[in-house]
């Protein structure tokens, strides 16, 4: 009895700290947004396109990747280099040093990947701080976590493709990690290597995963948007210019390069860690493999199911209610709802109208847009009567 009271006290204390943190973070985020609005107006404020920013970099990655793909040779053969035989490493060297603008394109591809991960994290932090990731938005959050994991894995396969000493080390570390998994370890290892050992087929597999999974991103993106009526997927041109310009500056300041060609007869020991994509390899090197897998799985599953555990910040959503005898079935609320929470169904028998608006309760955010859209006063928010809204608007107008 005493221990359960103690646990509850601890939980309340934790909830309070968490709520205060989120409240402060929310205020800070909105203050920064306001500041940017004052400087460059809301039209160009990147905070209002935070989901579109990583997607813009996805298009940059597709285009630059297509150009690299045209010259990339996915083989590891190095026995006949003296006969100018081309393998993955030499083709990357050719792209970087000999192809006109090849080094720049490779740099754009690499740094756009980093930028995409960075903006995905900022996007996630923003929706977390503004409490827009749970309840009716759970599907966006869950698919967002899946998208992030996919992007990280795609980025890692990009590091294998260069086929320098780092690629070899990362490949061997991945094989060791997969080997440590019970039951599914062996088949996963065979899938990863496309055989039992590292061969030309392994690199073909890496290239297939890198490109195939990139296209699979589009499907998960569709799931990410499926419940949004009007997702903002394109930043305005001026913001796009800045996004590309930033990458071009980084390409100039930190030109891209490769390490020495991978040699299967040697075992590289050290490599430069790209913290955007290779942080898990750093962890892998600094903890037992079982701890690594348990912590990675816990992190991924925990992040995905977060919306169902955090229920403390906002008051519960009270869904909008349709007044049947006033609804004309005009569909204005259906068109305006940002979360596809309004469904038009056949009107009940005896009605003068053909359609009736209904609210899909789990999707309703209680935002009130449908109330504003309705010209017939046929939809209400139970906790916010029209009279209260009018009073609030009047008091706001008086303050201004």
């Amino acid at each position: 009895m005493t221990s359960s009271v103690k646990n509850e006290t601890n939980n309340n204390w934790l909830k309070q700290v968490y709520n205060q943190f989120i409240e402060a973070a929310n205020k800070l985020t909105l203050a920064i947004e306001d500041g940017i609005n004052t400087a460059i107006t809301s039209k160009y404020n990147p905070f209002y396109y935070h989901g579109a920013l990583p997607q813009f970099y996805l298009w940059v990655l597709f285009l630059s990747g297509l150009l690299l793909f045209a010259y990339y040779v996915p083989t590891i053969d190095n026995a006949y280099l003296s006969n100018r035989l081309i393998n993955a490493w030499t083709s990357v060297q050719y792209i970087t040093n000999s192809l006109p603008f090849g080094g720049v394109i490779r740099g754009i591809h690499r740094y756009s990947g980093d930028a995409m991960v960075l903006f995905i994290f900022l996007h996630a932090i923003r929706v977390w701080f503004t409490d827009r990731y749970r309840q009716y938005r759970w599907i966006q959050w869950a698919t967002g976590v899946i998208l992030l994991l996919m992007v990280l894995f795609i980025g890692q396969t990009g590091y294998y493709l260069v086929w320098d000493e780092r690629s070899l080390l990362l490949t061997r570390m991945t094989v060791s990690a997969l080997d440590a998994l019970p039951i599914i370890g062996a088949p996963l290892k065979a899938w990863f290597l496309n055989g039992d050992t590292i061969t030309n087929l392994t690199l073909s597999n890496f290239l297939f995963i890198h490109i195939g999974l990139s296209f699979a991103l589009l499907f998960v993106l569709w799931l990410h948007y499926v419940r949004m009526t009007r997702p903002v997927i394109t930043p305005p041109p001026a913001v796009n210019f800045i996004l590309v310009a930033a990458i071009l500056l980084i390409v100039f300041l930190v030109p891209i390069s490769s390490g020495n060609m991978a040699n299967l007869n040697t075992q590289p020991n050290t490599y430069d860690v790209d913290w955007f994509f290779l942080f898990n390899y750093w962890l892998m090197a600094h903890m037992p493999m079982s701890v690594f897998w348990i912590s990675m799985t816990a992190l991924a599953v925990g992040a995905t199911i977060l919306p169902w555990f955090v229920k403390t910040v906002s008051p519960p959503v009270t869904p909008a209610e349709v007044v049947i005898n006033k609804c004309t079935g005009c569909s204005l609320c259906y068109r305006d709802c940002p979360y596809q929470a309004i469904e038009m169904v056949p009107a009940p028998a005896g009605s003068r109208f053909k359609l009736l608006a209904t609210v899909n309760v789990p999707r309703c955010s209680s935002c009130g847009i449908c109330v504003g859209a309705c010209a017939f006063d046929a939809i209400d928010l139970p906790q916010l009567p029209d009279a209260t809204v009018l009073t609030q608007i009047k008091s706001l107008a008086e303050v201004k």
């Binding site: 039209k43 040093n97 006109p100 080094g103 720049v104 071009l248 500056l249």
Partner: protein, 113 residues
């Protein structure tokens, strides 16, 4: 025509964008020389552009600024990306300055006509 400092800044940014696009980007694309392709060199020679491009390369500080570190080949490509950065940033700032006006409400009337 020019109403204030904002318009002057927009004009300066537009000029910067033009100069970078017409002078510095082709210059870096030609690897800091005035060696235009055969079909174009006659025309450029007529205007003295190729000599101007070649002279630019003699300015050590400019060359130091546009040469990336740790790169031995295709220096012009990297300088091109630097100049493209300048042009895109200048044009983005100019677009934001022009576009800010769109944000103000233009359809509000003081009284009914």
């Amino acid at each position: 025509m020019i109403k204030g400092i904002k318009d002057i800044v927009i004009l300066i940014l537009a000029a910067l964008c033009l100069i970078v696009s017409l002078v510095f980007m082709p210059w870096s694309e030609l690897n800091f020389t005035g060696n235009f392709p055969g079909w174009l060199s006659g025309v450029m020679g007529h205007f003295g552009v190729n000599k101007f491009f070649a002279d630019l390369a003699t300015h050590n500080k400019l060359m130091e600024l546009v040469t990336p570190k740790d790169v031995q080949t295709n220096l012009g490509d990297y300088a091109y990306s630097l100049f493209l950065f300048v042009a895109m940033t200048a044009s983005a700032i100019a677009i934001v300055l022009i576009g800010k006006e769109d944000d103000s409400e233009k359809t509000v009337l003081e009284a009914k006509k």
